[in-house]
């Protein structure tokens, strides 16, 4: 979606145009739902969270200023803030452990040179990566998702989480190492190249 289109959509929404709002919802719901799922690991929780994000966006449309960046950036920033806040809140309250112990499972991932993974293998890999990420501690998990899945820069993560750059870097580093070790134990990532 072009910058101008985003600004125009928001202007129409502010005027009370339902079709314009529907267009925003259908353009961004998939991305926001996926982001929410990466933090919650549960479809129902991710759905609730996505709905919450859109309610908040709808109420904040007046604050959107097209001069300060395009709609997508503004919307995703808002979504990340809400999803991370929610995640931190949930970490403070005790909850039942959702994921079963994946270390018992053995996954077979073809590591043969040049072999093209088919769709099913890729989907399976996605499930395994999510299972691995679930096992990280909340701080490391947040940083790994933002860096290696959301592909934010260090500075963007610093701004988003409000912690020093050194801390962000060391959490990303520690998170990557932990994730690699978890995936190795799950045998998702092949032990050697051979």
């Amino acid at each position: 979606m072009a910058v101008g289109d985003g600004a125009e959509l928001v202007r129409r929404c502010r005027a009370g145009d339902g079709a314009a709002w529907e267009e925003i919802v259908s353009s961004y719901s998939r991305r926001i739902y996926n982001l929410a799922y990466r933090f919650t690991s549960r479809a129902d929780a991710a759905e609730d969270l996505t709905q919450e994000v859109f309610i908040r966006v709808y109420r904040s449309l007046e604050q959107y200023d097209s001069k300060q960046g395009d709609l997508q950036n503004w919307l995703m920033r808002l979504a990340r803030n809400l999803i991370i806040d929610d995640y931190r809140r949930r970490q403070r309250t005790p909850h039942d452990s959702q994921a079963d112990d994946l270390e018992d499972h053995t996954y077979h991932l073809r590591s043969g040179a040049g072999s093209v993974q088919n769709d099913m293998e890729r989907r399976e890999l996605g499930v395994q990566v999510q299972a691995g990420i679930d096992k990280l501690s909340p701080d490391l998990r947040t940083c790994v998702i933002l860096r290696d899945i959301e592909e934010l820069s260090y500075q963007e993560i610093v701004d988003l989480l409000g912690i020093p750059e050194g801390t962000v870097k060391s959490r990303i580093n520690r998170g990557r190492i932990e994730l690699a070790k978890i995936l190795r134990r799950m045998r998702v990532v092949a032990m050697t190249n051979t």
Binding site: R12, A15, G16, D17, G18, A19, W21, E22, V25, S26, S29, R30, R31, Y33, N34, Y37, A43, E47, T50, Q51, F54, I55, Y58, R122, R123, L125, G126, Q128, V129, Q130, G132, V144, D148, I149, E151, K169, S170, I172, N173, R174, R176, I177, L179, A180, K181, L183, R184, V188, V189, A190, M191, T192, N193
Partner: protein, 247 residues
């Protein structure tokens, strides 16, 4: 040459260090004496076998790391430090001295040697995961619309009439006004230039005609007077010529 002397000079012969005369005598002896001939070929064979077989090549990086670690342990790195610098190493941000210490540790530490590869593959797995976006669950759009607009039929929710008319006007004017602004401006400029020189004082059409006629008369008078000037001038020139001829 005797056999004992042949044996003594064997190495020099093979090295090509014999004088030409001695070299010839050595070769002749080898041709004549079967025992020495066999000896020579045996030695040659052994030598080439020695050259072919080499000590198993150690991994250069690993050997270097071992030597440095056993001579200068301070140039080493602990496993904890190694892990701490892993992302900086992958990002290419490690300064040279740390970089070399890091690589040495990677080469010799059995516990750590596989870790960088695993981390890279795990990051790769995350990137694969990015492209595997799940579709939005059925009914979620409707839930969001219901929660925000109060209805699932977004088309039903229309902006107030005034806002719609405003938007309609904008959509109508936008393509006309903005891209053709230069053309419109030029037309206005031309109109101003033309009208200011011909328009009548009272602004009526009749007045405009009268102004045009006055303008035309004025033009005619100007033209006629300049013509008259020209004629006078040529008459004068003709008189001058006559005067010259007369003189």
């Amino acid at each position: 040459m005797l056999c004992a002397e042949f044996e003594d000079r064997l190495t020099d012969y093979l090295d090509g260090a014999l004088e030409p005369d001695t070299n010839r005598a050595f070769a002749e002896h080898a041709m004549r004496c079967p025992v020495c001939h066999d000896l020579l070929s045996e030695v040659k064979k052994t030598l080439s076998a020695c050259r072919a077989s080499q000590a198993p090549a150690p991994l250069a990086a690993e050997l270097e790391a071992r030597i440095i670690m056993s001579t200068m342990p301070s140039a080493g790195m602990s496993c904890e430090e190694f892990e701490e610098y892993l992302t900086d190493y992958l990002d290419g941000f490690l300064p040279a001295p740390l970089f070399h210490r890091w690589e040495r540790h990677a080469a010799i530490c059995e516990r750590c040697t596989e870790l960088p590869g695993q981390v890279v593959r795990s990051i790769g797995a995350c990137y694969t995961y990015i492209s595997e976006e799940m579709p939005v669950p059925a009914g979620l759009h409707e839930r969001i619309l219901q929660a925000t607009l109060g209805t699932t039929d977004a088309e039903e929710v229309r902006a107030p009439l005034a806002a719609r008319i405003g938007a309609w006007m904008r959509s109508l004017l936008d393509p006309i006004v903005s891209p053709q602004f230069a053309t419109v401006a030029t037309m206005l400029l031309v109109a101003v230039l033309v009208l200011t020189s011909t328009v009548s004082a009272d602004g009526s059409v009749g007045g405009m005609y009268r102004a045009s006629i006055r303008l035309a008369e004025k033009t005619y008078v100007n033209g006629a007077s300049s013509m008259k000037g020209l004629i006078n001038q040529s008459e004068k020139q003709a008189d001058d010529k006559e005067g010259i001829v007369r003189e």
